[in-house]
Subunit: 143 residues, 2 copies
DNA sequence: CCCATATCTATAGTCGATACAGGTTTAGAC
DNA sequence: GTCTAAACCTGTATCGACTATAGATATGGG
């Protein structure tokens, strides 16, 4: 049985994050030592490693919740899991296209700036006037 | 002079967002009508359009705060602005490389799945075992 | 036994908004 | 002039996925 610190070391997930995952019900409530400290067994390590890997691949915690539920049911068809991964791939592709447009605009404005006074700065000028852009790059940038 | 609703319509920035920008000091406190409603002039429209465009290009509000301060000082050298844009370009490039790796992994796992039972699902299998991945794709996925 | 480290809980903060509640002002129709 | 619906006001709470802090308790090595 591992302490939360050892589990953290074994998976690369920070201690407060593990507690957070338990709090939101992504990890089951851990067993406790006589002194009330969390103890983890091997399946817990695998479950957390699964979560970490899915996070690295960009899945949301809600998606991961569903994927974990599916993983616990080996006889079911995997169409639901493939659907979630397909959605994720589509989201990644959308973000890629958007970021490529942003990269092009940023490169363009930097290349056109002669690095003189602010009054002549192409960066400031383009930011103030989207008509100077080559792409549309609409929508919020967060994604 | 425009009401906040007209300003919103003119710039595409939602009304609560405009109030939020004022609250955090990104927009100066707007003048008020006799009935205490915000009123905006033409420079306010331009300032908000600048903010919106910079957000679309992925700049953080803190970066935008600096860029606005620079834009207000036309005689200064523009190196600081170019530096911020360069940082943003580097961040976008980093996110692009990362997303490309994610896209490859997601495509691979989906292509290898025969869509049978969960027990044989390649998606679930790869998520549980990073050794099956071709790339490293480390770091958090948020960015 | 002592002490440094690890762990515990609960709460607040991050970013960039968005949503809601409950009240006031305004603009247009009559 | 009056009515009503829309827009506006403030303040607070919420989202996702953590991260940080404070103050208390437990554990493990010397
Ligand atoms: Zn410049
Ligand atoms: Zn543009
Ligand atoms: Zn599958
Ligand atoms: Zn992997």
């Amino acid at each position: 049985m591992l302490s939360i610190g050892k589990l953290s070391g074994a998976t690369g997930v920070k201690v407060p994050t593990i507690r957070y995952y338990e709090q939101i019900g992504l990890l089951p409530r851990a067993g406790r030592s006589t002194g009330n400290q969390r103890l983890y067994d091997r399946p817990a390590v695998e479950r957390l490693a699964f979560i970490r890997h899915a996070r690295e691949l960009g899945f949301s915690l809600e998606d991961i919740r569903e994927l974990l539920a599916l993983a616990d049911d080996p006889e079911k068809p995997c169409a639901a899991a493939d659907l979630i991964a397909g959605r994720q791939l589509a989201a990644v592709n959308a973000r890629l296209r958007r970021l490529e447009a942003l990269r092009d605009e940023l490169q363009r404005m930097l290349a056109q700036c002669t690095s003189g006074r602010i009054a002549d700065c192409r960066v400031i000028e383009v930011l103030g006037n989207h008509a100077l852009c080559a792409h549309d790059h609409a929508e919020a940038a967060g994604a």
